[in-house]
């Protein structure tokens, strides 16, 4: 690797936290010293075998890693083309990939002597994962969640409260994930001394995008080993859904330098990517800007005001995207496409019917894209899609869209 570092897609970010022009540390002065402390602590931990030993132990015995790589045989047959594998991160403890990252950050927080953990959440999966790990370690946990999301993800709100977290419904702005992130940042500047901000995706100021990516990369590392064991070669295509982009970065990162592996990120197309702007496709429908500590593609108006995204999936409903994705997009290493609510709902149902797997609405977007491309690909073409979350949290939303009333 070292001799080819220049040509590597895996060497970022630079010392300023940049992936090309993206990333950086766009935060207020109050937070800057904390972010530098965190970076230093993370750099130490990264090369500390005891840190990774603790992670590996918890991943194995608490989360249930490695998650299976499953050959979706009936789905592959049904689509009639590529051989489709699902990386089953929905089988993790708490039901999504989010806990991979939370464990890493909470262990760091403990090393830094922080006793109060704050998090933002959209779908509630990151909030549940954070509340879970905080319960396990006896840490105080406060989760900021947009008031609108509190409503559409009620089961996760109750889960978090059962786990002892304080769930704060956010009504500032329009009460969505980006506003929850704003309020989490406001909490952090107010409580700098004892508080650790556990960000749920590959966004935020440096070092978060790199750190969260590194923790989530366990997904892609396992896929490499598993697909080599199953097929004796690397996959041809990787597909993952993108909210902020953490499950996608986790799957993609270990393959960035394998030039023959095609990489596709799937953004939430909501009601369709057009000038009505009722979608969350930052790369397809946005332009570079600065929000939440980093420069990245954002949905914004001509004045640089941030627009609200729209998606059936609360976990994808974010007007930005992790800076590394913006860079991979601009340099052309990864492709980014979008899938509408309607297409995601169809994929959701197909996964239930053919594979007995109720997917979250987020990976349903990835699956919907697989449904689009698989039929035209040869039978020996290997697709790995990230089944990054299970759909229990979404059954009420889906029922509503299917016109079914569930009594509660």
């Amino acid at each position: 690797m070292p001799e080819d570092r220049i040509n590597s897609f895996m060497s970022g970010p630079d010392e300023n936290g940049r992936f090309g022009i993206f990333g950086g540390r766009f935060v207020s002065e109050t937070l800057m010293p904390l972010i530098l402390d965190l970076e230093a602590e993370y750099e130490r931990a990264k090369t500390d075998p005891t840190f990774w030993a603790e992670m590996d132990d918890l991943w194995a015995h608490y989360v249930g890693r490695p998650s299976p790589l499953y050959h979706a045989e009936r789905l592959s047959q049904h689509l009639g083309g590529a051989r489709i594998y699902m990386k089953r991160d929905e089988l993790n403890h708490t039901g999504a990939h989010k806990i991979n990252n939370v464990l890493g950050q909470i262990i760091l927080a403990r090393r830094m002597g922080k006793t109060r953990i704050i998090a933002e959440t959209g779908a509630g999966q990151h909030g549940v994962a954070t509340a879970t790990v905080c319960a396990k370690f006896g840490l105080k946990c406060i989760v900021y969640m947009g008031a609108h999301d509190v409503e559409r993800q009620a089961p996760n709100v109750f889960r978090m409260r059962l786990l002892g977290a304080d769930v704060v419904p956010v009504t500032s702005g329009r009460g969505t994930l980006k506003d929850a992130m704003n309020d989490a940042l406001r909490d952090w500047v107010t409580n700098v001394r004892d508080t650790f901000y556990c960000i749920g995706t590959v966004a935020g100021p440096h070092p978060y995008p790199a750190m969260v990516r590194d923790f989530q990369s366990i997904i892609g590392k396992e896929v490499r080993t598993q697909i080599m064991a199953r097929e004796g070669r690397l996959p041809d295509t990787l597909v993952a859904a993108i909210g902020g982009g953490s499950n996608a970065m986790g799957l993609f990162f270990p393959f960035l330098d394998d030039k023959d592996v095609r990489i596709i990120g799937v953004e939430a197309g909501g009601k369709g990517v057009d000038d009505r702007m009722e979608h969350c496709a930052s790369l397809t429908g946005g332009r570079p800007g600065v929000l939440h500590g980093n420069r990245t593609y954002l949905l914004q108006d001509d004045d640089g005001q941030i627009l609200e995204g729209f998606s059936i999936s609360a976990g994808l409903d974010y007007p930005g995207i992790g800076p590394e994705h913006s860079w991979l997009h601009d340099v052309g290493r990864a492709e980014y496409v979008s899938i509408t609510d309607k297409e995601a709902l169809e994929a959701f149902q197909l996964s239930c019917a053919l594979e007995g797997i109720i997917p979250a609405l987020e990976p349903s977007h990835a699956l919907a894209h697989v449904m689009k491309i698989a039929p035209d690909l040869p039978k020996d073409h290997l697709i790995v899609m990230n089944m990054c979350g299970r759909g229990d949290k979404d059954i009420f939303t889906v029922a509503k869209h299917l016109g079914v009333q569930i009594k509660t």
Binding site: G304, Q305, I306
Partner: protein, 267 residues
């Protein structure tokens, strides 16, 4: 480096000669609407304001408390844009060529316009300095250095978390004045006590010749006097914005400002 004197530098030179403290007021441009906020702005110097901070509304004001968040929302709902804010400054300048104006806000609207274009327009409109909350020294190449090259002051925030090791980094490339945020928190939160602020101001002044102005949480003439007394002046924002948000008349808002300014000037 010697730079041409800005209105901010001139104002502090005058205040120093007079042995007076600076009173700095913050209002949000376009709150509750463009006309009203321009009327308030025009009345500020007469109410005793030495430097005007003009907020640029942004959808995601991460360092602001509810009062200023709501002011930004009112302004945006009224159609305020960065262009209209620049126009507002130009309109103010027709009747006042002396009072310094500092734009305060977040980076994205500026970045979206394009830094070079923004700086040229800001200079032409009569803006003297910038406070951009989400641009720490680590990002100086973005706007701070180009702004100074264009003859605008770039005013940096120092905070209780800015320790002595970091302070030089914060002070380098700062000009006009240093804005000491007296608490770790967002705008409109509880104020610090003058007794705690004094040593912090001294700590900063030991490393810079620049005036140190203290803000966050000041909401009465007494607090303005106490805080200005241990610094080169003070800033009041949320307390004024709250009056505007409550629908007070321009005269009532300016009377409230006068009380605060008198407090600061008694120090």
């Amino acid at each position: 480096m010697t730079r041409p004197m800005t209105r901010i530098d001139q104002t502090f030179a005058r205040l120093r000669a007079e042995g007076r403290k600076a009173f700095v007021s913050y209002i949000m441009a376009g709150d509750p609407d463009l006309d009203t906020s321009l009327q308030v702005m025009k009345g500020l110097p007469g109410a005793g304001v030495d430097i005007i901070e003009l907020g640029v509304p942004f959808t995601d004001p991460m360092a602001d408390g509810q009062t200023i968040q709501l002011a930004g929302q009112r302004a945006l709902e009224g159609g305020q844009t960065l262009q209209r804010t620049l126009d507002m400054v130009a309109a103010f300048r027709k009747g006042d060529d002396a009072t310094p104006i500092v734009l305060m806000g977040y980076y994205n609207p500026i970045y979206s316009r394009g830094v070079d274009r923004f700086l040229a327009d800001a200079k032409a409109a009569g803006i003297d300095g910038l406070i951009v909350v989400d641009l720490p020294p680590e990002e100086d190449a973005e706007l701070c250095l180009p702004a100074q090259a264009a003859g605008l002051n770039f005013i940096r925030l120092a905070t209780p978390t800015t320790d002595d090791r970091r302070l030089p980094k914060v002070l380098t490339n700062t000009s006009g004045f240093v804005y000491y945020v007296s608490i770790t928190g967002i705008t409109g939160a509880a104020a610090a006590q003058a007794a705690d602020v004094g040593p912090e101001v001294a700590r900063i002044k030991a490393q810079t010749e620049l005036p140190v102005i203290v803000g966050f949480g000041i909401n009465t003439p007494e607090a303005a006097q106490a805080i200005a007394g241990v610094a080169d002046g003070c800033v009041v924002g949320s307390a004024i914005v709250k009056e505007i948000g409550a629908g007070k008349s321009v005269d009532d808002v300016l009377a409230f400002v006068r009380g605060l300014a008198d407090g600061a000037h008694r120090a």
